[in-house]
Symmetry: C2
Subunit: 317 residues, 2 copies
Amino acid sequence: MSEKQKIFFAELQPYLNRLQQHLAEFGNEERIPLFYDPIHYILKLPGKRIRPLLVILSALTCGGKLESALYPAAAVELLHNFTLVHDDIMDNDDLRRGQPTVHKKWDIGTAILAGDGLMGLAFKKLLECPEGDVLTMVRRFTEVMLIICEGQGMDKMFEMEADVSEEKYLEMIRRKTAVLIELSCELGAITAGTDQANIRLFRRFGHALGMGFQIQDDFLDIMADEQALGKKVGSDWMMHKQTILTIKLRQRTQGNINDLSFEEFRELLKDQRIVKEVEELYQAYFRDAFDALNTLPQNSYNRSLKELTSLIQNRRW
Amino acid sequence: MSEKQKIFFAELQPYLNRLQQHLAEFGNEERIPLFYDPIHYILKLPGKRIRPLLVILSALTCGGKLESALYPAAAVELLHNFTLVHDDIMDNDDLRRGQPTVHKKWDIGTAILAGDGLMGLAFKKLLECPEGDVLTMVRRFTEVMLIICEGQGMDKMFEMEADVSEEKYLEMIRRKTAVLIELSCELGAITAGTDQANIRLFRRFGHALGMGFQIQDDFLDIMADEQALGKKVGSDWMMHKQTILTIKLRQRTQGNINDLSFEEFRELLKDQRIVKEVEELYQAYFRDAFDALNTLPQNSYNRSLKELTSLIQNRRW
């Protein structure tokens, strides 16, 4: 992380400490360690906690209380970790944030059960929220959980499809990534009891931030400087994963791009002006995210949301 | 099934047909077959649908409407199928009701995702219920979903523990089996908008029925006539699974019972009067189930619940 990022996250640390208290204890830990140990293990891995921060800052921007916002904040983090544990099994990944994944440290059965538990605990936390329209929150939470599962299904289907359209690809990342970021902002706004117009603006902000983030993620995986990214570039390419870049290139060249070397692939992306096009695409989403924030109440929390958006937009990781 | 059972279930067929409509379509099937095909596959396997029938008959006993009861009825069936799909992976079972399990017909990743989807769809159905205190229903549903996961965790832990106490074993089957049957009856009563006293009686009925059912299940797996059971007896014994029978025998004999042959084991159970004791235990639960029903409104639906309880109590499968 850059110095600027470190300062930003340090200022938000008190929120993250309170969040961690919500994620630290659930009740039956001592009696059923095989169920709760993997759950606490994944919740303790270092993470940026972007989603719960979005819940908290969205709520505070609308005049909501931190104490209430912590419940949906914990719920979206639990939902996110549910998807991580189950996706790691499906993708057969050994490492998560440099540590063994749950199914590697324990076994597949234990990891399936831990994911199920994280899902149940997510609903539990949300239902405990002392303020706001809890029933509306649970309805949206359920919808989004299903959309994420559908997105994972689409992603798995794309592995077997030769040509996925750009439109279908964008629909998939909306489901897999953007809806949860959208939900995080929306739940913050709902807890604060703000009006429908603001809730819609927060959804627009979250959607744009989520889409921008994922398209940029695809971009950085191929085009980033390896040292700045902090992991090997080209991992999507190695796995023959369809991304916005491969889809555009396949459309443009009509050829088999799997035979290219990674360097040839990068050169072709530049020649075909795809690098520029994709950069413009995600920058447009980030612009829309800022536009939405500019229409919302202007205060220090809104400024933090802008700073967070700007950190993501300018990230090299 | 006996003639009596066939007639009973034939009379309830109209309810089951309406239920199946709720389980037949969810919305995005055509676009994401990899996600929805396994879900429809498991929901079409023949099953007795005991849990949704309990929701419906409990609601009707309290003067509730069938149309409303179908939502929680579908929700508990979806929750039940979520546990089946994930448990089959954990237990590495190849067959479910004579058909390949989801992870055998597709693969583990697809089955994990199908289970997650069934869970999401369960919440969705429950939230669509047009009558009754939906928020209370969702709270109870979430609690029970977590208790079932904890029960599965306890069950997995017991595989590695040499001596499990009777008390802990009963706590495990309460979590793994009885709470969902209890919830089914409770949700039926809540949809009907009945009073707290009746809701408590329905919980008592469901708890007793669920405990009686599971203890009898352990009993039949060892003591049943193979032909009547319709599957091999002794499957729990073969797998060295702890059951109320092995736990009582280990306490009584203080010896290593794993070295016994199946026939020796059965003989010892009779000699030690454990057969009789366990029969008395589950019969006491069934009696309590009838007692609860006798205190509830007496009508044709209550009579159906008694008949269903009696069919379970006298089953040989």
